[in-house]
Each structure stands twice: as structure tokens, then as C-alpha cells.
Symmetry: C2
Subunit: 194 residues, 2 copies
DNA sequence: ATACGATACGGACCATCAGTCCGGTTAGCA
DNA sequence: TGCTAACCGGACTGATGGTCCGTATCGTAT
């Protein structure tokens, strides 16, 4: 089996597309305002190229999301406390949820694009990102309770940091990021206490 | 100001459309599988009629949703315990959330259609239905804490019964409705204690 | 340096869908 | 029975995700 190497022009275009898409989603009011034509145009690339590289819209958005979350994943997987594996479970869960909230608050438009429904195909719950972090959190909680309840609790914690909820809290209800994180911290602490 | 009365044929068509849409969304795999043309055809009505009556897709779905939720709203607004106003706050909140979960579990496809993103315009958090029930719950919680925290907690409780989460739990994780409601009950009890 | 096959490019093209428009029809009333 | 406002329906439009294929480019073998 040969190692397929991506041609230089292909690599250049992939990068241009990701950057353009990132920029567009970040500045758009709503993800649906950004069409694939817009992305292609902004990247200075043909539509065919865009679709050959990324398959479809959902896939493009997923890759953007993955790129943004990569640093966080690394920190969680093999970083120093409080995110890294050496931290005590409950404390680590709290740190993880807080970190997720922070990333989403700071990348709200992009996160919104990913979590913005559109059929079962891109249900966040089915994405590897969600499943992985859910599994991790549920495993961290399992020491205190049974599997079913750990799974449930992990879902609830993640539901607290959904992009659209966070946006609503900041934009419509006028909560500051600080207030949100404070509430979140209280809530998690209370939820995880026995 | 005269009282505009809807003509008989118009009323008949409105009903036919609502019924057809209800049926289609209920049996479709995903809300996006149901086009407005499908609805019009199934209702035996022209597209023009459909749009004149309901304005746009989001509006149609909202009306379906409202119709499904009306009985619950009535029971909450002026019914007997445990949903009605005479119930003690915490107990009532628990009953309300459980009732919402039940309705959503029983109408999952339709509920999914409504909550299925699509720009800030139909963000559930902005719908009157959501705002009203959030306000009610937050007001019931205010006795135990401050405004900010009551608001937050109400949002979290409602996030636990979002249609897509419920669907994921039943369809992908294979939880039974009973298990979900049991977890929910435990969770609420724990959250509202102290 | 050159030639050549594999890979990639791009934009015209297609299908689908929400939403509009207007000529023809019908309900309700005098 | 006749009149008018309200209503009907389906052809039409504009936008969008996604496909196709003739042409251009890359990387390599010579």
C-alpha cells in the first residue's frame, strides 16, 4: 500500500479554504448566511475544488471545529492539571466543562455553525468530538455512581455548554462570560457532590 | 374595526394543512425530509394557499408545536396538582419538567422539527413557548436563591429535555423512556435540594 | 530539460426547495 | 341572482448544495 501524498497545490487550497471558511463563519451573523459559494469565492478557489476537498458542508464545518478544539483535546489527553489525566476525577470534570465553555464562548459563531442541526446526519451527539468527551466524562464519574447515571450526568453537563444556549445567555439575557462560568462552576460542584 | 371572519374554505384548508403537516413530520425520519411542497400536496392544497395561511415554514412548525403543547400549558396554568399553581414550587418544577419530557418523548419527530436550528430566527430560546416556561420555572425557583442563579438553573433544567438530546438517548444510547424519566427525576431532586 | 501519467482545478450545470405572483374561482351577502 | 372581496393553485423565481468533465498543473522518470 503506497502512501498517497497530497499535491502541493491541493494542500495550499485546503489551507486557503479552511482559513476563508473560518473567517466567514466567525464574522457572519448566522451560519446559514455563509454559503458554500461564498467560501469558495473567499478562498479564491472553484466550487469543485471545495467539494472535492471536503465532501460536503457538514464535513467542512466539522473539520473547522476539530481544528479549534484540537489544543483543548491535547491538554485534556496529556496535559498538566487541572485538565490533564493526573487530576482527581471530579475536579477534572469541572475543569473540562469550564474549558469547553470558554472555548465555545470565544468561538461562538463557529461553534454555532457546527451545532446548528440539520437532520440526524449532523446531530452533535453523533459526532466523534461529542462522543469522546462524553465517554471521558462519564468514565470519570463512574466511580461515584452507576453507568446509567454517569452517562446521564455527562450528557447534562454537556447540555449546559451547548453553543446556542451560551449565545442566548450572552446575547439575549446579557449575562457576562464571568457570570456564566461562575454559575456553571457552582452548578457542577453541586451536581458532583455525592 | 371590523371583525374579520375567516371564510369557510380557508378554515377547512388551514385544518387540512395542519393535519397533513403533523402526519408528515411525525412519520418522517428527519424534519428536513418534509418539504413544503410535500405538505401542500398531502393536504390537497396549492402551495400558494399553504404560504398565505402560514407565512413560512418556521411559522407552520411553530403552530403545530403550539397546538401539541396547548393541553400541557393549560394544565400548568390552571390545572390540578402536581402541575397546577396550587403545588409547592419545587415539586411543581419537577412535575413540569417531567411532563415536558413526556410530551417530547411522545412527539419526538415533531419536537425535533421545531428545535432544529436554522439561524437565530428560530432559535428555540427565543420562542414564546420557551421564554414563558423558563420564566415560570425561574420564578418558582427564586424563593431559594437569587435571580441570576434561578435563571441559570431553569435553563439547565430545560436543556435536559431538549428534543435532540432525548432522541439521542432513546435511539442511539437505547435508554427507555422510563430510564430517562427516572434519571431526570433524580437529577432534579438533587439539583433543587438546598 | 523533457515528456507523460496521475492528480487537481474551476465553473457551468443540475436538482431541490422556500417563497412569490397573478389569472381564475368561490363564498357570503344583498 | 348578481356582485365583490377573499381565496385558490400551480407556474415561476432565486438561491443553494452538490456534480461533472474538459483543461491545467504537479511530480517524476528518463
Amino acid at each position: 500500500m503506497t502512501v498517497r501524498v497530497e499535491r502541493a497545490d491541493a494542500a495550499r487550497n485546503r489551507k486557503a479554504i479552511l482559513e476563508a471558511a473560518d473567517r466567514l463563519f466567525a464574522s457572519a451573523n448566522s451560519p446559514s448566511d455563509v454559503s458554500m459559494d461564498d467560501v469558495a469565492a473567499a478562498a479564491g478557489v472553484g466550487k469543485g475544488t471545495l467539494f472535492r476537498r471536503f465532501g460536503d458542508r457538514a464535513s467542512l464545518i466539522r473539520q473547522l471545529y476539530a481544528a479549534r478544539l484540537a489544543p483543548l483535546r491535547d491538554k485534556i489527553g496529556s496535559g498538566p492539571p487541572p485538565l490533564g489525566p493526573s487530576t482527581a476525577p471530579r475536579e477534572r470534570v469541572a475543569a473540562i466543562i469550564d474549558a469547553i465553555a470558554l472555548v465555545k464562548l470565544q468561538n461562538s459563531h463557529l461553534m454555532l455553525a457546527l451545532e446548528d442541526g440539520g437532520g440526524p446526519a449532523n446531530d452533535i451527539h453523533r459526532s466523534p468530538d461529542y462522543r469522546d468527551v462524553h465517554r471521558l466524562i462519564a468514565d470519570l464519574l463512574i466511580a461515584d455512581t452507576d453507568r446509567l447515571r454517569a452517562d446521564w450526568t455527562a450528557h447534562v453537563l454537556l447540555a449546559c455548554v451547548r453553543a446556542d444556549l451560551l449565545r442566548h445567555l450572552t446575547e439575549t439575557e446579557g449575562m457576562s462570560q464571568t457570570q456564566i462560568r461562575a454559575n456553571l462552576r457552582n452548578f457542577i460542584e453541586h451536581t458532583l457532590s455525592r
